[in-house]
């Protein structure tokens, strides 16, 4: 058949069949038992031309309310941030996106070096010594941190703050079931992890204490106090962190975190309806040989020239098989590259400026909302998200604001029984003063 992705001509086919020594292509499938051979045609939609298909898909895309047209105050783990135009141009270079895992370092130096740079940037942001080349996303990265902790401490229980993203906690629960790890939730109080409860719950059977910073409600957890508690029982201190916030916040590494995980989505990665994003995974040097996933290391070639290779592979599934530290194989390499380009474009100054703008704009929004009479669910220090109390179901308000061109915040009642009619509002640097003022004006009508 003639198709732009299939170069085989009738003449080619004739010559090749002859070389193989069969009459027709079907002879090559004669080893498939008659009983399981698929007869007839797949009942799927017929092929469309490029023009017809793109028209159909453009219409499909147009049914969605996108954040290029709508003003978004929705975060809860996925954010609308500034993405330098250069990011998409770099990752569109097909030497990057049409390659696979750099198994042949001599012809994969570009990818390997880019990932080495990415690992360095994640270390810089988190204050950790070692970072891997990426995980699927923040949620699975969080779950892998629990598994590493259980393996390292030989303990089978983890304490997870209720103020951690519910999606991440749900993923952790599934992974933990496979590994027979018990997951116990430490309650939140006034929007932060309840430290008194944590002290009571912590025993020498706990493999890890897992918190989020800033947490799901936007609050800045007291990592200093949590670290002190955690390490009294020699549990691993695991912090999930929005890496963009670390342009302004003291990094978890400085507070003695053993494992820092999260999602690099805020760096140049589109929200894309939840994926693909880019999990990051950073640890202390002590845990270097327990890290899941690929690591790129520096070395030299036979002529002494500097180069990069995949290294410490004895941890990985293709070598260790059932004894591997994780089953991860494909990761999110292209998105790690995208995040690197965004981090590079921001640079040392930009990362600080963008993080501080998030702080300040969210603070402004918080002030405007409260002066308009809307109550905060709790006081406290917040980064770019905070929780407000409303008198009606959030879903109802969100539907109404959509009509005004606004994608409003997250309905916390979906995950927390005692937080009905509470909305998690995210304000990034993308929101102008005018956006925020409009939001306040519209929201107040439904408050």
């Amino acid at each position: 058949m003639n198709h732009r992705y299939l170069p085989m001509t009738d003449q080619d086919q004739k010559e090749m069949l002859q070389a193989v020594g069969v009459e027709n292509i079907n002879d090559l499938f004669s080893d498939i038992p008659e009983k399981v051979r698929f007869q007839g045609d797949l009942k799927i939609k017929p092929a469309k031309s490029e023009t017809a298909l793109t028209r159909e898909l453009l219409n499909m895309a147009a049914k969605n309310a996108d954040t290029k047209q709508y003003i978004s105050f929705l975060g809860a783990g996925v954010y609308d941030h500034y993405s330098p135009a250069i990011v998409d141009h770099v990752i569109s270079r097909s030497e990057f996106y049409t390659a696979y895992t750099p198994y042949q370092p001599e012809i994969s130096q570009g990818e390997l070096q880019a990932i080495f740079e990415y690992q360095t940037m994640i270390c810089e942001l988190t204050g950790m010594e070692v970072a891997n080349s990426s995980m699927y996303d923040g949620g699975t990265s969080f779950a892998e941190a629990a598994m590493l902790s259980a393996g390292q401490t030989r303990r089978k229980k983890v304490l997870v703050s209720e103020a951690v993203n519910p999606e991440s906690r749900a993923v952790l629960k599934t992974y933990a079931a496979g590994q027979h790890i018990e997951v116990v939730t430490v309650p939140q109080k006034n929007g932060v992890t309840d430290l008194e409860k944590l002290k009571e719950m912590l025993t020498d059977e706990v493999a890890a204490v897992m918190v989020q910073y800033p947490n799901f409600f936007g609050q800045i957890e007291r990592l200093d106090e949590i670290e002190a508690i955690t390490h009294t029982e020699k549990a691993m201190f695991v912090v999930s962190s929005n890496p963009l916030s670390l342009g302004a916040l003291t990094p978890p590494g400085q507070f003695g975190a053993d494992i820092v995980v999260g999602d690099a989505q805020p760096f140049g990665l589109p929200q894309a309806f939840g994926g693909p994003h880019c999990g990051y995974f950073a640890v202390t040097k002590k845990l270097m040989r327990k890290v899941p996933g690929r690591l790129v290391g520096e070395t030299t070639d036979d002529g002494g020239q500097r180069g990069y290779v995949l290294t410490l592979q004895a941890r990985e599934q293709h070598i260790r098989r059932d004894k591997a530290t994780s089953n991860i194989c494909s990761n999110q390499a292209l998105n790690a590259l995208a995040a690197s380009v965004a981090m590079t474009a921001l640079g040392k100054r930009g990362i600080e400026e963008i993080a501080r703008q998030n702080f300040k704009k969210a603070h402004y929004a918080k002030q405007q909302l409260t002066s308009a009479g809307i109550q905060l669910a709790e006081e406290g220090y917040t980064f770019n998200e905070f929780v407000i109390k409303l008198s009606r179901p959030v879903k109802e308000i969100n539907e109404a604001l959509l009509q005004k061109g606004i994608i409003a915040g997250y309905d916390l009642g979906r995950d927390y029984e005692n937080r009905e009619n509470q909305m998690l509002v995210a304000v990034t640097e993308q929101r102008t003063k005018e956006d925020i003022d409009t939001f306040v004006k519209e929201l107040i009508q439904y408050a």
């Binding site: 090559l28 469309k48 499909m60 895992t101 130096q109 999606e167 079931a177 070395t299 704009k361």
Partner: protein, 491 residues
């Protein structure tokens, strides 16, 4: 390719340069220290590079030139299906209505995205012959683990807690046993016979009351169709186990044999392989999982449902294994796969497998006189050669792979599967022309001659790449996993 060392981006950094453009703060400024507890505002900025935009672009352009992708040249990496990545897929995935939507928006505002997901699921159900599909897993290994967790939930729901073992052939991908471990199972290996297929007698020996599942790739990693698949299915099913299909090699059998019809209970697909992902330098992928009816209750939640013309996510799934990933999977990759399937249609997909298989058989027959062919029968989309003959002359498969670099090719997968000595696993895919295949075959034949006439040329390869063979032992013994500023080291 450039020979010169490309400096690290950190080495290009110069204080005072910027590469970004932020709108100046337009709300009243406040003292940052007042917004966080004392000690929580960072005192020293992270050492991210300071580079202007053109120099950033040049840096990454230089790096891209030091990388080989499918668009650069032939990439016959076995089991990875390195086919052409259509450009229209890339355009569609970037439509604002797909790229810039938030996963937690009200369902009413993302009906187009949900429609695409639903229709993709329907297409995958038909292609695999399964009853239901979830798009949540992020990659193949993630799909394996998801499928095994469902199998475990199924057995446990039947009060059957003694099924602790997963059987895996010796030719299986490393992810199979690793996924079994993560899902809480022990792995048992079943041997291959001298035909390269699962040894039925050995399978009967290892199967039992403790069997949770058999994981199988079909065609297997040797590129051979497991023709006893129905017997294997009944051995496993009679023992009360489930049959798991690793979809890494689905490119061989589209519209030719469906896993659902072969007796498989669970299937994962690698959308970045068969359905043109792309591979992205190692990801992101997408690993949807299909199941038969009796496993449907255990699918990860939420489930995408259609009521009349409206799509919704159903979270009320009491028997679900739970979430395996935040949100709904790697949607951006799923958009690309959907675009591809709609571009090919039923006839196109059938042609994909037919041409992939003909290409592989053609290469195998033409190379057979020059290398050892461990299994002399029709292959499917890939085949393995052994470098045994060359090894006797002092040249290893690794050397042959490195020599191929000099010809501008990405080498095949080497030393895998583990049950073939000095293995080379070659997968041409259907998107390569006969001229490309012929040129690669010629290069392989030339290398085989060099092994006989001047082995040192092969042993010392590569000769033309930007860098020579790298010292992997040094990298592992003295790990340097990040850049550290020179001054800092000297202090």
């Amino acid at each position: 390719m450039h020979k010169k060392d490309q400096p690290l981006i950190f080495e290009l950094s110069k204080e005072g340069r910027t590469g970004y453009s932020l709108t100046p703060l337009d709300v009243p400024d406040v003292d940052i220290q007042s917004l966080a507890p004392q000690g929580f505002i960072r005192e020293t900025a992270p050492e991210l590079p300071e580079v202007a935009e053109l120099d950033i672009m040049r840096h990454y352009t230089a790096l891209s030139k030091r990388n080989h992708g499918v668009d650069s040249g032939f990439y016959p990496l076995g089991s990875c299906t390195m086919k052409y990545n259509p450009k229209v897929n890339e355009s569609v995935a970037r439509y604002a209505g797909f790229a810039h939507i938030h996963p937690l928006q009200e369902a009413s505002s993302v009906q187009g995205a949900m429609e695409l997901m639903y229709d993709l699921q329907q297409h995958l159900i038909e292609i695999t012959g399964m009853d239901e599909v979830t798009l949540q897993p992020a990659a193949g290994a993630h799909g394996e683990w998801t499928g095994l967790m469902m199998i475990r939930a199924f057995h446990e729901a039947n009060g059957d807690f003694k099924r602790t073992k997963v059987i895996v052939p010796d030719s299986a991908h490393g992810t199979n046993p690793a996924s079994a471990t993560v899902a809480g199972f022990d792995t048992i290996t079943v041997k291959s016979d001298d035909q390269g297929l699962v040894d039925l007698e050995d399978l009967k020996r290892v199967v039992g009351e403790d069997t949770a599942a058999l994981m199988l790739t079909n065609p297997n990693t040797l590129g051979l169709f497991e023709e006893n698949i129905l017997e294997m299915a009944s051995i496993i099913h009679e023992a009360g186990g489930k049959l798991y299909y690793d979809g890494a090699n689905l490119n061989a059998v589209l519209s030719k044999a469906r896993p659902g019809d072969m007796g498989f209970d669970v299937v994962h697909l690698n959308l970045h392989k068969t359905f043109t992902g792309p591979h992205g330098g190692g990801g992101p992928g997408s690993g949807p999982v299909g199941v038969k009816k009796d496993l449907v209750p255990y699918l990860p939640k939420p489930i995408l449902v259609k009521n009349g013309d409206r799509y919704d996510f159903d979270y009320n799934r009491p028997d679900s294994i739970g979430r395996v990933k935040p949100f709904y999977g790697n949607f951006g990759i799923n958009v690309r796969a959907y675009t591809y399937i709609r571009t090919m249609g039923p006839d196109g997909l059938k042609a994909v497998s037919e041409y992939a298989v003909l290409n592989a058989n053609y290469m195998m027959r033409r190379l057979a006189p020059h290398f050892d062919l461990p299994f002399d029968r029709h292959c499917k989309h890939e085949f393995v050669l052994s470098g045994k003959r060359q090894k006797k002359l002092g040249v290893r498969t690794l050397d042959i792979a490195k020599r191929l670099l000099d010809f501008g090719y990405h080498p095949p997968t080497i030393y895998f599967p583990l049950n073939v000595e000095e293995c080379m696993m070659i997968e041409p895919t259907e998107t390569e022309s006969k001229e490309t295949l012929d040129a690669f075959i010629d290069a392989m034949i030339q290398i085989a001659k060099e092994v006989e006439d001047s082995p040192e040329v092969v042993q010392n390869a590569p000769h033309t790449t930007i860098i020579g063979r790298l010292d992997e032992t040094k990298a592992a013994r003295q790990p340097v996993l990040r850049y550290i500023k020179k001054e800092a080291v000297e202090v």
